[in-house]
Amino acid sequence: MSGAVWSYSENESVSNEVASAAADVAKGASAEPVVLEIGAVRAGVRAPGAKLLLKGPATSDVPPEVAAEAIAKASKQLQPAAILIGATRYGREIASRLAVKLTVGCLSEVSKLSADGNALAGERNAFAGKVVAKVSCALPAIATVKVGYYAAVESAGTAVTESDVGQVNPLVKVVSREKKAAGAVDLRSAKVIVSAGRGVKKKEDLPMLEELAREMHGALGCSRPLSSDLGWLPEEHHIGLTGVTVKPDLYLALGISGQLQHTAGMKDSKVVAAVNTDKDAPIFQASDYGIVGDLYQIVPAIRKALASRR
């Protein structure tokens, strides 16, 4: 492999993760990792390697349609060997559009990326995490990088080069954007995660779990129905295949059945404990410690046990 390995995400912290992936791929190959910025250089993107600023599109807001067009234009000019994009909801669109624009193969949701001769190689979950698949695509190639797998690499200011890609006129117009209910936690760096499932009967009961999380110096996560169907927590709080992947020291699942799509996002936790009223709930198969019981009784009891140790 030779040439550059580009990385991009519209999200600053994911951008740092993808930059680490690009550095991994570049290492061992005679390639150079390059972090893409569109419109403006972001201070929060502290990536290893050089930065390439794509100028032309407006600076404040880069929708996926615009990002894809900008990256495609630069790519036709500069011919990178590989382009890595963070697998966020925007990112999947960017990568897919790029693949079509450039007629280049595209891997999805990959971790453990490397350059393998003339190909980009990696691993991904298949069948809701029941199976691990080794995947590969001949260069030049594109991949969406699984969020939550790579640690950001701290690095000092890097050289910035620029490329003018001109204006892009998207078909899709953003009318408004509204933040979902605030969630200040960063699940990916939390050492302890207390995670809520449909066993929690109403939104008003979440503070009890939040308190427990705080007392354990951890953060509150949830299963998909709580963020998606019920809207009790932002989407970025849900753990699993379609949400975040976490690997805390302790994952405490409360009222979560443990379907494959959920466990796909927490199976690499160091210790897993679960509370569920159903003794046959699959979550117990994915746990080190299990209590068959009602979370409304067990959670207060755990808080009491913690308090008595202080």
Binding site: P64, E65, T88, R89, R92, A95, S96, R97, A99, V100, T103, V104, G105, C106, S108, A126, F127, A128, K130, V131, V132, K134, V135, C137, T144, L171, V172, K173, V174, V175, S176, R177, E178, K179, K180, V192, S228, P234, E235, E236, T242, D249, L250, K267, V271, F284, Q285, A286, S287, D288, Y289, G290, I291, G293, Q297, I298, A301, I302, A305, R309
Partner: protein
Amino acid sequence: MRIAVCVKHAVDETELKIDSGGKPLLSGATSRMSTFDKNAVEEGLRLKAAHQGEVVIFTVGPSDSKKTMKEALAMGADKGVLVTADTTSIDTMRTASLLAAAIKKAGPFDVVLCSEGSSDTYSGQVPPMLGEMLGAAFTGYARKLEVNGQTARVERSLEDSLEVVEAPLPVVASVVSEINEPRYPTLIQIMQAGKKPLEELNGDQLQPAGAYRQASVVSMSAQQSARKHVMIEGSPDEAAAKLVEALIREGVLSK
């Protein structure tokens, strides 16, 4: 209004068996409609109820996919187009290009619906690729979709925000599961679905493979997991105290 819905016949992960060597037994595995595609079909039926027209189901897959397509027809779709291809060996680009070719052939369509991601591979790539290939507006992760005249208004669910966007028709959209509650077909609908038109096209004839190197799966193995499976007994207070003790012993709880 003409509405296309892309529906995948996906391997049922809950039924998938693993052999003694740790390899998934894909040949002979049970498949069924990709979970969230039911929401895409439902949304297509809702658009038809509001605007008249027809709903056409598109599937790329083996002949066995007809089972899944008939389910969509039983829900209320009008007809189906199956593009035969071996979905275990083609990538998202090839899948999208076959869908695009079939949709163009049967088109034009005002709205093309997919789900956010298929339940077996979850790549979320086919829908935006399709938008790009059809030269249509694309908007992903729709949790609400309305069409007024020649404009679609979509509420997109992003990680930390809700975004409202407008796009001119034709539009390709992927939906999330909270957009609706899919209906269950009645027995009569299931019986009638067999009589609805279901066209079959050969993938290689419809559209020869493109001039790029496909992404491929090199090997697969079962996910390894080694957990202790200790069940803690006793009253809530006793169980909680034992759990806290165990977690401190493991060194995962600071006192």
